[in-house]
Every structure is written in structure tokens, then in C-alpha cells.
Symmetry: C2
Subunit: 346 residues, 2 copies
């Protein structure tokens, strides 16, 4: 049976299994194989992608040639197009604007054979650094209200190319889940003069049951009201609204934390497809020729990452209603992930 | 490329393809076969389910024996349990309550071989009547804040038994999507003294591009800012907050509308897995021993149904962010569904 639990950040109720939790083996699935001939993300195939926007090229190699460690290119099939002014209009009761945005691909390694979980902390720190750099650049574009780095790994999670890559989507609107968390964070701060996520992390540390890993700087834990089994959050324990402000030392520790989590997940859930989302405060809202009705930075927001494995579990009514029933208690999920390397592989 | 569109009921932005829409054949998939030995929803297997709560038994046959046309039983594996008082508590920043609810199964026909799309209007009207009856009964229970009838059809849509059935879930909370639509409906009514959905339906009728079918009473259309390809809404054009108030004549016309839509969907999308949700106003909020802080009925809400086919299309970042990119313009989806029987099967 289930217990109803309320998530104060997302402001929603979730039914969470409180007995007979489903264990990892109930979710094992075989990944569908993605194949490609002459992968566009490998060395020597640089001309198969649009020209690069940014790359880490330690040996001073010329752009769009081999030699890079991490390479950022425009998505060849973008969700939203980069060209044009943002034109808003009403259509009776509806509103529309042209689909202006940026959609970029971060190729995490030239090595076709290695997954993100295989990357070293130094390599993952390079990827995170490339994302920081792109965030800082994209924020300068006044057409974008929100910039969202994310990763789809595996066909079932929305990936299309079998080579380790992340994506960055810049949007002319704030996605609804982000918008709600911004509101709850601001409301809480106004009322208490404290950050909601800071309080939440302190409570998680004191409780301990849902913690996967705590290196003193970053906390890895299963959220109290997780909507999906084995969902995990990583957040910095020192308040920061802005992921781009992490310095090199912290970025390396975050890379260690993330790599560790991906390897735990791979071990416990047998290499499932998954999604990662990185949530960081939106840039200040300014539009040419419009009043600055929201010109404060969201200092009360607390940046974080979410990892959602995509497990063998059809989702029915949850899609439309937003009411989720999580068959694995977060306390049990955390215990499995915590003990990932204590037992032989199941 | 895409256009950004705003849904005034759900209060969210969706990116909708405005050129090169994906057509039905891009989404065809083979349903995974569900199998069962001695189906618990067939005649003669009545003792394999918990005892029936309600049944349409025209020949006066005894309960839990063959002879029924529609049969409602408790779900053997409920998401939430029916027993106990609702006990709420805080856990630091979090909130919890025990998982009290009702989870029922509406067996739509004794015939194992027929899908819901095969049912006659009279048979579907029986199913809708059974749902009305259960809604009226479940609303009497003061522990439930919302009662949600829905249907998962096909393994990929969350179904587990290969026999036509719907479900009813009574919850101690209002699901987030419903809660948002209740708010936007109320806000609109307070401001304009008119119903948002009534205005929206009038605009759709005047526009015409997104209409699949209009019998004068019920409008079947693809929402302007649909999040999923081939998503469809059915709503009564005369205002009503409460699905249970439909009389027998209207129920039969709704059954005709729904059956027609299911057959169009089967034709155009080659029998896809799908979900249906029925949204109707929540019962008044009253809890024993608690103040009635919200004791008005939601007369400003407008009941409706949503149909979401589950197409061969992995969803990635949409899951976590709530930002959806719909690859098929609703105008094109509506045209395909409108013309479903004009052309030979693709």
C-alpha cells in the first residue's frame, strides 16, 4: 500500500509505496540498441555537424577538426530555431509566439565506446565546464527566458545517437516545472528569509535515510516525494542560485559526485536508460522595448540536478493527471544505491 | 520548426510543429501482446475478482455470477487502500498522510474479444452510466477530495489485462493538473463572469480547423496547445461542471461521440495504445472536525474528457521539465481524424 507525501519544492502530492516496495530487479530491461554508420560525434566526422560553437582543444587544433576533448555544436534538428525576433501575439483566448530558441549538443568525449558513466572526474568536469560556458553565453540573448542543460541517455530516454552527449535548450518561456519551483522558493524566502532547498537539505542530512552520498559539499539523495522509482537529486549544500558560479575545484567535486552516482545506478539497475536535468536560476527578464516587470535575479532559487532512470514500467493515468504513484520507497531506493558496490552484481 | 502556443486552461506553453508535421505513419507501432489464462474479467471467472460493487444485470442474475453487462469491482492491486481514517501529519518541511483512497475496475463487457472501440453506443452508454453511479456513491465519502475515472488501453499505456476495462481512482488530494485547471477556471469566471471552457469551445467552433466532430451537443477537437500528437478533447457545448448530471439521452450521444473517436483513432493510427481521462468537478471539501475552508462546488469548472494515444515516440527531457514539443500540429491531427474514413487504410 502507499503513503501520500507532499513535495514542498514542486508543491505536489505523490503516492509512495510504504510496504512491498518494488526492488531493482523488478525494473530490469534490455536497452534497445542504437546504431549508426560513421557517427557524426566521432573524430574525423566534424563536418557532419553544424560548425562548432565551443570546444575544449588543449593542443590548439583548428576548429571542426579532430583534437577536441569536448565539442559543442548546434543541434542539427532543433526543437526551436535560433533566427528571428521574438514576435508575440494573441489568438482570441490563446497566445502564440514564434518558436525562437537555441538547441545545442555537447559531445562529451571523442571516444565512441565510452558512456558518460565511464568518464573520469576530469573528463566530466570538462563537460560541466563546457555547459557553464554555454550558459553564460546564451544568457546574454535577451530573447531567452530559460536555459536548460539536460541529457537523454538511451533510445527509451529520447536519445538518437549512440555516443555520449548532453544537450542545452534555450527557451523563450520558463518551463512549468521550473516556474513552480521558482515560485515556491520565492514564497518560502519571503516568508522565512531562508532558502527552501537549504532547509530541505539540512533536514535530509539530519534524517539520513534517503542519502546516497555526502561528500560535505554536494548531497546526493532520493527525494522524499519522488515521483519515479530511483529518482535522485544532487544539490550543493552551500546556497547558490547559479550553477555557472561554481569554481574549478567545486566543478571537479561535482563531476566526482555525478560519475559516482551514474556508476551506482548502472550497477543497481543494470545500465538503465535515463534523463538528467540541470536546474539553475533563469537570467533576469529583460525584453527590448518592454517594461522590466521582473528584473530581479532569482537569488532565492537553489540550483540542483535531477536524475531519472527510465525503468521498465508503463506509465498510465499519471501522464494526464500529474498524480504519480511511486512503487519504490525513496528510503529503499537510497539504500540500494548506497550499497551498490557492497554486494556482487544481482 | 515550431511555434510556441499557450494553453489557457492548463496555463502552460507548448512548442507545436508548424511545418513538416509528423504524420500518422511516423508513429505506427506494434502493440505488445497482453496474454492471460482464464481472464478474471470473463463470465464464469467472477470469483477471481473481489466481490462486485455494482453491476448492470438486466436479467436479475445474482451478484458475482454471469449475466452482467457491465461490472464494477475493487482493483485487486489498488494504488491506495480503502480502509482507515485519513491521518495527516507534518514531517519537518514535508507533509504526509496515509494512502487512503478507492481504486475500482469497470469491466466494460463480458466479451473478451471486443475492445472498447468495438462497443455499440448502447454498450458504451452502459459503461458511462456505471461510472456516473460510482462517482455519485464515492463522492459521499468525505475522505476523498477527487474522483478520477480513466482508462489505460494497451500494455504501453499501463494496462495489465487484455479485456476492455476502465478504472476509477478516488484520492484524498486533488491531482496537480486538475488543481491547475480548477484555478484557471475559477480565476477566469471571477474576472469575466463566464466559463473559460465555454468561451474556448465557442472559439474552436468559430475557427473550425481543429474540430474532429461536432454533433451539436458534444465537441470533439484537438486542443490548440496539445502536448502530445493526436491528443483529443471531448466536451459538452452546454455548460456543466458535473458529468454525473448527464441524462440518459445525452449519455447515449456521448457514447456515440466517444465510440466514433476511438474508431477514428484506430483507423488513423493503427490501433495505438491510449489513455482516456474524464475530468469532472470535485465534490465539496468537507472533513469531519475541520473547518470548511473550501465549501463551494466548482460550478465554474466544465467537465471534459481527454484522449491521449501513446505513440512510438520516446519522451526525453519533457518528463522532468514539463516543457513539451509536439511534432504534429493539432490542425493536421484534426484533419487526419476528420477524414479517417474518407481514404482507404494507409
Amino acid at each position: 500500500m502507499s503513503e501520500m507525501r507532499w513535495d514542498p519544492l514542486k508543491n505536489l502530492w505523490v503516492a509512495v509505496a510504504d510496504s512491498k516496495s518494488r526492488n531493482p530487479r523488478d525494473f530490469f530491461m534490455e536497452r534497445q540498441k542504437l546504431t549508426t554508420t560513421a557517427c557524426p560525434f566521432c573524430y574525423g566526422q566534424e563536418n557532419k555537424t553544424p560548425p562548432e560553437i565551443f570546444a575544449l582543444r588543449p593542443d590548439g587544433s583548428p576548429p571542426n577538426k579532430p583534437g577536441w576533448r569536448v565539442r559543442v555544436v548546434p543541434n542539427k534538428y532543433p526543437m526551436l530555431g535560433i533566427e528571428g525576433e521574438l514576435a508575440q501575439r494573441g489568438e482570441g483566448l490563446y497566445d502564440a509566439m514564434n518558436g525562437i530558441g537555441a538547441h545545442e549538443v555537447v559531445i562529451e568525449t571523442p571516444d565512441h565506446e565510452r558512456s558518460t558513466a565511464d568518464l573520469s572526474a576530469a573528463e566530466l568536469a570538462d563537460v560541466l565546464h563546457a555547459i557553464q560556458t554555454r550558459l553564460v553565453d546564451l544568457r546574454r540573448d535577451a530573447r531567452f527566458r530559460y536555459i536548460m542543460p539536460y541529457k537523454n541517455d538511451g533510445l527509451e530516454a529520447g536519445s538518437t545517437i549512440p555516443h555520449a552527449y548532453s544537450q542545452i535548450l534555450a527557451l523563450p518561456v520558463i518551463p512549468p516545472e521550473v516556474s513552480r519551483a521558482l515560485s515556491t522558493s520565492k514564497d518560502y524566502f519571503v516568508r522565512k528569509d531562508r532558502c527552501l532547498m537549504c532547509d530541505l537539505l539540512a533536514q535530509e542530512v539530519a534524517d539520513g535515510r534517503r542519502i546516497v552520498r555526502n561528500d560535505g559539499e554536494f548531497l546526493t539523495f532520493c527525494p522524499y516525494a519522488a515521483r519515479h522509482p530511483f529518482e535522485v537529486m544532487i544539490a550543493p549544500q552551500r546556497h547558490s542560485h547559479d550553477f555557472t558560479q561554481l569554481d574549478h575545484g567545486s566543478l571537479t567535486r561535482l563531476a566526482e559526485t555525478l560519475g559516482d552516482l551514474l556508476r551506482r545506478q548502472r550497477q543497481v539497475l543494470r545500465d538503465p536508460p535515463y534523463n538528467i536535468l540541470l536546474y539553475t536560476a533563469p537570467p533576469p527578464h529583460r525584453r527590448p522595448g518592454k517594461p522590466n516587470y521582473w528584473n530581479t535575479l532569482s537569488f532565492d532559487y537553489h540550483w540542483h540536478m535531477e536524475l531519472m532512470p527510465r525503468l521498465a514500467r508503463p506509465i498510465g493515468v499519471e501522464w494526464g493527471s500529474g498524480f504519480y504513484c511511486n512503487p519504490t520507497a525513496p528510503e529503499e531506493a537510497a539504500a540500494f544505491l548506497r550499497d551498490a558496490f557492497l554486494h556482487p552484481a544481482p
